[in-house]
Amino acid sequence: MKGKAAIVSAGITKFVRRAKETPKELAWYAAKMALDNAGLSLDEVDAVIHGTAPDAFDGVHQKAEYLSDASGAFNKPYIRCYVGGGTGVMAPIYGWYYVASGIFDTVLVVCEEKMSSCRPHPQAAFLTIFDHTTERPLGPNLLWIFALEMNRYMQVNKIKLEDIAMVSVKNKSNAKNHPSALLGSEVTLKDIMESEVLAWPVHRLMVSPISDGAAAIIITNEEKAKKITDKPVWIQGAGWCLDTAFWTGRDLCYPQYVEYAAKMAYKMAGIKNPAKEISIAEPYDPFAYKELHHLEGLQLAPKGKAAELLMDGHFDKNGNLPSSPSGGLLGVGNPIAAAGMMKVCELFWQLRHEASGRQVPGNPKRGVAQAWGDLMQVGTVIVTGVDKP
């Protein structure tokens, strides 16, 4: 990696079912908090990146323009990052290459989503992402196709539904200690298994809740980082990759594109054995099975074996490799772009020992955050750590 870039500050709103704030107001809260935590004024920001998912959620076309003032973009270079659900990790990657390239010293990265505006349900926004002649007339939505993926993943790897449900138990419990959390609580395996079957094998409590919220970080070069904090969190690696845009062209059992994205990031970070060299994982978990699927793609579990490691406690907060100590999307909530960014923020707080009740034990040196999206073909991966790359 050429120039060095560090995350020096983070800000986040509460994730709620229906916020009284407008999308702009949400974005401003998070951006302002990140600036205040760094002790920076807006004048000291050279460029702004805004990450936000479909325009249809907020019900505003060209949503990035609408959100620009609230993201601090007035009179500044500004760009929108948008790769569906992968946005929340891709936006910080934009921030990293803006700084690592040497173009800007200090950038503000803001992610916002207000899903409650969308009626009758935000899922309706996804009805139009399928092929308009061969698939849409059949009425599929994302929930249906994830159900198909989950079923295939379980069948091929012989994974029990109960084991997948344990991801929900773990993440909702971890989220109890997250101040932004919408759904933090102690739920039992029985609660999950007895929740309504939305689309077999997906149960209601295996799905993250739609939410409103925003999160922001500040990324600077080495020189500025030193002035702002004595605990910068360095961006050590970044990777992103696409699978085929035709979801009917994938095997559904294994997220190859996440592997490619992870390998790109690991190579940059000089990581040879990710399962040993990474202390904390924040894989994208909009559905319980996706956390396991993604841990495999991230090379943190052998193919088809993430469920076994989960059941051994390997991914618990006090396990060998804590996964989603934040509480993840299943516990904290899923305002799409802001949810991915929440994972990047979590690594920032964990690596600085600022995660209070969620703090993982020991001295975590390095974390990986990952998001996933579009028509489930985008993988975005970022590796951050306490050591300068």
């Binding site: 509460k14 704030e21 009758p120 349900h121 002649t133 059949l138 249906w144 062209g249």
Partner: protein
């Protein structure tokens, strides 16, 4: 930050929409596919002569090799269930009247999967299925009523 509890508070939010409609294009390969489905009840595939991948529905180009696909072939609408779901809720979250059986089907002779509905007693991965076609077909994916067990 405040969470909004009262959904009927007229001062807090109001209804509106983005008024748009679309006239969608079937496309070069799509036109061939639907002609074939309508006229002879077959699923038209196209094969890449470089990587041999067979796409169904047929496409104009191979995303892997970026070549134009010129080898079209009619496939029988017969295959095996690759994965399935039984859907119990409508898009607004309300319960459906009859559960929908959504499925990915591996059509015999194709490499890509084919998305459609099933109408079987107990769906299973690997189950052999065939398409049940409408008698009067319009050139739509709904000319296939569903797939049933063979």
């Amino acid at each position: 930050m405040k969470e909004l509890k009262n959904h009927n508070d007229k001062l807090t939010f109001f209804s509106g929409n983005i008024p748009l409609e679309s006239l969608y294009t079937v496309g070069i390969a799509g036109d061939k596919f639907f002609q074939s489905l309508k006229n002879i009840g077959a699923l038209l595939s196209s094969k890449c002569s470089r990587c041999n991948y067979v796409y169904v529905p047929c496409r104009l180009f191979c995303e892997r090799c970026f070549d134009e696909l010129k080898e079209y072939k009619e496939l029988e609408p017969v295959g095996a269930v690759y994965s399935f779901s039984e859907v119990n809720i409508e898009r607004d979250g309300s319960p459906v009247k009859t559960p929908v059986q959504a499925a990915l089907i591996k059509i015999n002779g194709a490499d890509s999967l084919f998305y459609h509905r099933l109408n079987v007693k107990k769906p299973k991965i690997g189950m052999k299925v065939k398409a049940v076609l409408e008698k009067y077909r319009k050139g739509s994916i709904n000319d296939i009523r569903y797939f049933e067990e063979i």
